[in-house]
Subunit: 182 residues, 2 copies
DNA sequence: GATGTAGTCTTTAGCTTCGAACTTTATCTT
DNA sequence: AAGATAAAGTTCGAAGCTAAAGACTACATC
C-alpha cells in the first residue's frame, strides 16, 4: 500500500470545481497550477519508488546515494552534513546509515584527525546502484516530457526556477504572506 | 526538525552541474525541470506545514479535512474511501481518525443500514479549521505566483496538466518506460 | 593541566505508518 | 436455513521518523 497513486481520486477539474463550490474567493487558475504541481509530484515519486524498489533499495536510500555521488570524488560526507542536506534529524540519519552499511551501500569510519567526526563513504556497489537508478530515472523523465516542445521546456524550466527562487528567498510570515528577504 | 527546507543544499544550477559530471547522458534541461519541480514541491509543503501548524493541526489532518469538504454536503465518507483517496492503508486511516475524533474535527458512527460500515463526518469545528487553512493557503499561493503574467499562468497550467495526464494514463513498465494505456 | 563549552554523533521514548492477521457483518449458493 | 465467500474496519508487530537527553571528543580559558 502507501501507493499514493491517487486511485479513486477525482479528476483535476472536478477537484477545482469542488474547491470553487466550498471556498468562493479562490482563483481557479492558481488552484489548478498548485493542484497539478502537487499531484504531478506525487505520481512521479510513486514511479521513482517502483524503480528503486526494482533495484532492491528504497527511495530513502536512493537520496543518500544521490547526495554522496553529487558531492563528487571521493564520495564522502559526515552524517550531520547528510542529515542537513536531506532534511532529516541526526537520529534518523544514524539509523539510515546503519541500514545502508548493512546493505553494503556505504561504509562508516571515524575520522582519525578528529575522532568526534564520522565519515560516510560510498562503496563501489553503492555507486553502481545509483547509476542503475539514474539510468531508469532518466528514461522515465525523458518519456514524461516527450510531448513538450523545446520552447515549452524552456519556458517551463524558466518559470519553475522563478517560482523556486521566490519560495527560497522569501518566507511566509505569521499570516502566510511571502515577504522578500533581500 | 524535519524541515526539509533544504538548508545547506546546493543551488539548482550547482546540482545540475554535478549531475552532468557524474552521469553524462542526461539532458540538463530535463533534469532542471524535474529537479525544480521536486524542490518547489518540498518547499511548498514546508510552507503549508507551518500554516496548518499555526492552526493546531497537522498536514495529515488537513488532508482528511480537505477530502471530506470536497466530497460536499453532508461531508461524510467511509474510512476505506478516505484511505484510498489519501493513499493510506486502512490501518493508518483508523488511527488518524482516532486522533481527529479526539480533536473534535470529525465524528465516527456506525452506519445503521449496514453495520459493517463506519461513517466519518466533518464537525462544524473541522469545517471551520479547513476554511481557516484555506484562507492562509490561498494567500500564500497568490503570493507565490504573483510574478507570473496571465499568459505564463495559462501556459504553466496547461503544460502541467498535460504532464499529469501523461503520468496518470501511462504506467512505467519494468524498464521504466512510460507506455500509454489508451 | 583542570575545567568549561561547543560540536558531533548515538541512544531512548513516543508517534505514525505499513503489512498482515483477525472480527464482524452482509451476501451469495445450494 | 447453512455454510462459504466477500467486504469493512480494527488490532498487532515491525519499521522509520522526531525530539530530547546522553556520551564523547576537541578546543578555549584560566
Amino acid at each position: 500500500m502507501a501507493d499514493t497513486t491517487g486511485a479513486g481520486e477525482p479528476t483535476l477539474d472536478e477537484q477545482i470545481a469542488a474547491y470553487q463550490r466550498e471556498f468562493q474567493d479562490l482563483d481557479p487558475q492558481v488552484e489548478k497550477i498548485v493542484s497539478a504541481l502537487s499531484r504531478l509530484n506525487r505520481r512521479m515519486n510513486v514511479a521513482y519508488g517502483r524503480q528503486t524498489g526494482a533495484l532492491g533499495i528504497s527511495n530513502a536510500e536512493w537520496e543518500v546515494l544521490k547526495a554522496l555521488v553529487l558531492s563528487g570524488v571521493p564520495y564522502r560526507m559526515g552524517p550531520s552534513e547528510l542529515a542537513k542536506r536531506l532534511g532529516l534529524t541526526p537520529a534518523a540519519m544514524t539509523h539510515r546509515i546503519d541500514r545502508m552499511v548493512a546493505g553494503g551501500l556505504v561504509t562508516r569510519a571515524r575520522d582519525e584527525s578528529n575522532r568526534v567526526r564520522v565519515i560516510v563513504e560510498l562503496t563501489p556497489e553503492g555507486r553502481e546502484k545509483w547509476l542503475e537508478a539514474m539510468r531508469l530515472a532518466s528514461v522515465f523523465e525523458e518519456d514524461l516530457l516527450q510531448d513538450l516542445s523545446l520552447a515549452e521546456r524552456s519556458v517551463l524550466g524558466e518559470v519553475l526556477t522563478r517560482l523556486l527562487r521566490r519560495v527560497e528567498h522569501a518566507q511566509p510570515d505569521a499570516g502566510g504572506r511571502l515577504t522578500d528577504l533581500d
